[in-house]
Symmetry: C2
Subunit: 281 residues, 2 copies
């Protein structure tokens, strides 16, 4: 047994989280970022991009269940889905559990991420070669801009933080382009950072989403390896608000580790006030 | 402006969390533990006992709302409440918002904690001198053992981790003694550590509670300064399960930052399966 060393991540220079590491399994510089896979004591394998933990073997189910099953259960008829980012494949795996989903496009800017996750995160990436799945290694901003208008039912933005390759995926221009690519009853879900971060930052993201969408429904869930342990996602749509209803039959019999059907039913109505206050219009 | 230094907390030697500290406001050795108050950049003032963060000015509302309003809204008639631990006063402050609560006893083993919180955490401790509140500096185990049988409506165990002064508050013997002190329709809520911790540890706590109670309803919520950012509490009762119902009128008009009436209504039914699997009988 070797003495572990530590991988340390900074949070605004206010908090550092260090993970005891047994081994570094992979490390390289891609065209876009540094890509690293470590074997940690606390969470098993972790994918680190530009020094920030993206996903781990132990806690990944929370994030992926929250991004996949919430929009699928709220969309009137979810058939064609685009994921921007999400190169690890975790959301694809969860979406494939729904028979109603017919076509999934994953548009990941960094081919190295897909390649590395296929090798080191087989549990995440198992669905990437499924016949319903089309993997595009391309810039998500350009990809969405070039989509035919009103061509997608759901678009999921599974980006890294708004620094580096993820930055353009948080702009008003991008969200307008997403709205154009969605059908009139389409739904966007974007990861929108930690509810504990400063209000000005979170409100900026929310207002950018408002540039493309009239109804925003943020929701939260615990992701221990993300900043301050709590994460937010924002569901946005241009449907009249009363059409955004939960279709509970979609989740019947679905075995999950975090997002139960009972939680999905109420998830949009239990978002904490301390966070809603920060992002309100 | 001085360069900050760092306060670091260990989590099973697998994770270290470090907080940038502007100032140490207080530090001493009490009869039971080291007591420290720091001014952190991320969370403002933090109370540290034996090197472990207990409460902070910024995130305290989640923990205190979850421990106070959940049991008050599920008890048939909550009048007499005992808090074991909780010397910062945060739960007392929340309980005092309910007119139906007539008498609150706080039994804290370490008088130094109460004294320090009165000075450095005025927002937490504001209710400690309220006429409905009786503060006892005493060992909670002995205090509960000496209570008349069936004398309390609700007992809240707001302890530190089961190492050091908190250890005896996680034993089967203690939970049996709590059950004896509660009226037949009484409710216990105990803090029961992070759902992400090893199953054997969490199951051990649950089984000890089962020694005194037939119905256990664990629930969870995000506390960023506790291990892995997610916390659990367990509500336990010897009422027939069908009597444990939510009295929504109790929370009507209550302004909260985390636990809304809508969340309290469903909180016992949305506990994540990955945690329930660890603690099931």
């Amino acid at each position: 047994m070797t003495t572990p060393f530590w991988f340390t991540e900074d949070d605004l220079n206010e908090i550092k989280i260090s993970y005891a590491v047994d081994r570094v399994l992979y490390e390289s510089e891609s065209e876009f970022q540094t890509v690293k896979v470590i074997e940690s004591k606390a969470y098993g394998r972790m994918l680190i991009l530009d020094g920030v933990a993206q996903t781990t073997d132990q806690d990944e189910f929370v994030y992926h269940e929250m991004m996949a099953h919430v929009p699928v259960s709220y969309h009137p008829n979810p058939q064609k889905i685009l994921i921007v980012g999400g190169g690890d494949g975790g959301i694809v795996r969860e979406l494939l559990r729904h028979d109603c989903v017919q076509e999934i496009t994953l548009c990941e800017i960094d081919g190295k991420v897909v390649e590395v996750c296929k090798e080191y995160f087989p549990k995440h990436s198992s669905g990437l070669s499924h016949p319903k799945v089309n993997v595009q290694i391309a810039d998500g901003i350009a990809y969405v801009k070039n989509l035919p208008a009103a061509s997608m039912d759901i678009i999921l933005v599974d980006s890294s933080d708004p620094i580096g390759p993820g930055e353009g995926l948080f702009t008003a221009e991008f969200y307008k382009s997403v709205a154009r690519a969605l059908k009139p009853d389409g739904i966007l879900v974007a990861q929108t950072e930690s509810p504990w971060l400063p209000g000005a930052f979170l409100k900026g993201i929310a207002n950018n989403i408002r540039a493309g969408f009239r109804t925003l429904r943020p929701y939260v869930g615990p992701v221990p390896t993300y900043q301050r342990g709590l994460w937010s996602w924002t569901m946005a749509t241009n449907m009249p608000a009363e059409q955004l209803v939960h279709h509970s039959a979609r989740l019947e019999g679905l075995s999950t580790k975090y997002l139960t059907p009972a939680l999905a039913q109420v998830i949009l109505d239990i978002t904490p006030p301390f966070y809603l206050d920060k992002v309100k219009a």
